[in-house]
């Protein structure tokens, strides 16, 4: 196909949008609403995900050793745990460290009482490894594995915390996926409707094209351009809105809600948009393209 023919069809696609103003506007508005909602849920998802992730990072499995175990055996256990796929990092807490933490946590402001233990460290059998996971959903399997390592006396885990975080993560993913599927279906349906109206409005023109000797691609191209353009405009507008709204909310919360902003940290706007921009554009253009292709196949027998 000649470049001039392609450009002519691109112009015709935009002319279609103009001729079909009201339907095109409705499609762009719906697409805008869909992508905007998608962006909102994505931003919420990313922030929840980030919160869950930081909560996960604080959930650790504590591994205690048999009494009288040698230092080299302790190190071997540490290496074995660290070599596991699901393990993020392992921290060794010596008996002295454990006692120091105890002093800080329980004897804060009452150092005399702590001093009464003198050289007798009550935590002498409490040297341990704190094992931090990449993914808490794999905690149970890891605990089972560690229990089987020779020299391990006891493994402490917060099963409930791990389960809650895993379930919460899964719930967010399901809700997110469900909403996206509904939004994509609604947007595709509306674009398809606009193209159907466009085809019926231009029925005569299409008939003439066919009689004169137009190829299928020539007849179809303007409609594809129309679908893609609606998808593109319908994703650029909400991205701009989201950028302004998200940035505004992050600023407002950090300025006016000190407690909230100290509890949670918003994912920076640029980090959110690094993924949101390409995904929204692909989604918008993709829905426009697929919506118009499917409609053409159904309604345009050329």
């Amino acid at each position: 196909m000649r470049i001039s023919t392609f450009l002519y069809n691109v112009r015709q696609g935009f002319a279609n949008i103009w001729r079909n103003k009201m339907f095109s506007l409705a499609s762009v508005a719906t697409m805008t609403a869909c992508i905007f909602l998608f962006g909102v849920f994505y931003s919420l998802g990313v922030n929840f995900g980030s919160m869950v992730k930081s909560a996960e990072e604080n959930v650790a499995v504590t591994v205690f050793f048999e009494e009288g175990i040698s230092e080299s055996e302790t190190e071997t256990i540490g290496r074995e745990i660290q070599s596991r796929d699901e393990v993020d990092h392992v921290v060794y807490v010596s008996a002295d460290d454990a006692w120091d933490y105890m002093i800080d946590d329980f004897f804060g402001g009452n150092e005399e009482l702590a001093a009464s233990f003198a050289d007798d460290n009550p935590m002498k059998n409490s040297a341990n490894y704190e094992v931090y996971l990449k993914d808490v959903s794999r905690q149970e399997a890891l605990v089972e594995y560690i229990k089987g390592i020779p020299g391990v006396r006891k493994v402490n885990q917060s099963e409930m915390a791990a389960n809650i975080l895993t379930d919460f993560n899964r719930l967010i993913i399901y809700i997110f996926a469900g909403i996206i599927i509904i939004l994509v279906a609604v947007a595709a349906f509306l674009i398809s409707n606009t193209i159907t109206v466009g085809i019926s409005v231009r029925k005569e023109e299409i008939a003439i094209m066919k009689l004169i000797g137009a190829k299928d691609t020539f007849v179809r191209q303007p409609f594809i351009v129309e679908g893609i353009a609606i998808g593109l405009i319908g994703s650029l507008v909400p991205l701009l809105l989201l950028y302004l709204v998200y940035g505004g909310i992050v600023r407002y919360v950090s300025e006016h809600f000190n407690l909230l902003s100290s509890m949670m940290e918003f994912v920076p706007v640029n980090d959110v948009f690094r993924v949101l921009v390409p995904v929204s554009l692909i989604l918008g253009v993709g829905i426009g393209f697929v919506g118009s292709r499917v409609t053409l196949k159904r309604h345009l027998k050329v």
């Binding site: 000649r2 001039s4 023919t5 002519y8 003439i208 009689l211 004169i212 000797g213």
Partner: protein, 228 residues
């Protein structure tokens, strides 16, 4: 150029449109196909464009058996056939120039060729000065001349005109007929479907008469009798 051998067409509803039609139209001929409404004239035009497929028989157009033309080859096949309709079928939102250029764009002609040929075609049909007008700003005769320019701009070997004067007054109808004759004199084969006997009697051309889907006469006439 155009050959129909034992061609019949029955529509899905069981209506027999034409029965065992045999025709041979040579290159450069001017032929009238006459007959009453529903006699099968337009079916022949549609068969020649491969808009319809015959139920029986063989159709040869421009040396090609159209039964052997695949769906993909139809566009190229149709580019050698110009068509003119009773109701002009111009694009109402585009001006005269754009309506004619449209036919060239459809066949993906280069831009410079469009710029060169469209004015030439508009001069031929006598509408060069109205290239900016919209169809609604033209008379019926002028609209039909635009339609003829559109049909001819890709230089087809055959021009099919389906009741080209049906919506025109006598004076404009004659202008169109003279234009079609001029086009024929330039070498294009012209097939005109009509029920206007005035032209048929006065133009001294070959006349094929169809009655209830059957060719009842095919003659070079000075004066043809009405089919019905």
């Amino acid at each position: 150029m155009i050959k129909l051998e034992h061609v019949s067409k029955t529509y899905e509803a069981g209506v027999q449109a034409i029965t065992d039609v045999n025709l041979h139209i040579r290159p450069g001929e001017f032929v009238f196909i006459i007959g009453a409404t529903g006699s099968g004239k337009s079916t022949i035009i549609k068969l020649l464009q491969k808009e319809l497929t015959p139920t029986h028989g063989k159709i040869i157009v421009n040396g090609r058996d159209i039964a052997k033309i695949t769906r993909k080859q139809i566009p190229k096949f149709r580019r050698n056939i110009g068509v003119v309709f009773q109701n002009f079928r111009l694009l109402p939102d585009r001006n005269v120039y754009e309506n004619v250029a449209f036919a060239m764009r459809v066949v993906e002609a280069p831009k410079r060729e469009i710029k060169k040929k469209v004015p030439q075609m508009l001069s031929l049909v006598g509408l060069a000065h109205k290239y900016r007008s919209l169809p609604k700003q033209l008379s019926g005769g002028e609209q039909q001349r635009v339609a003829i320019a559109r049909a001819l701009v890709n230089e087809p070997k055959i021009l099919l005109a389906d009741e080209p004067t049906g919506n025109l007054d006598n004076q404009h109808a004659w202008e169109i007929m003279r234009l079609l004759e001029e086009i024929n004199e330039r070498g294009t084969t012209v097939v005109v479907v009509t029920h206007n006997m005035d032209f048929v009697r006065q133009m001294n051309k070959r006349v094929i008469t169809i009655k209830k889907g059957v060719v009842v006469s095919d003659e070079q006439v000075e004066e043809a009798s009405d089919a019905d």
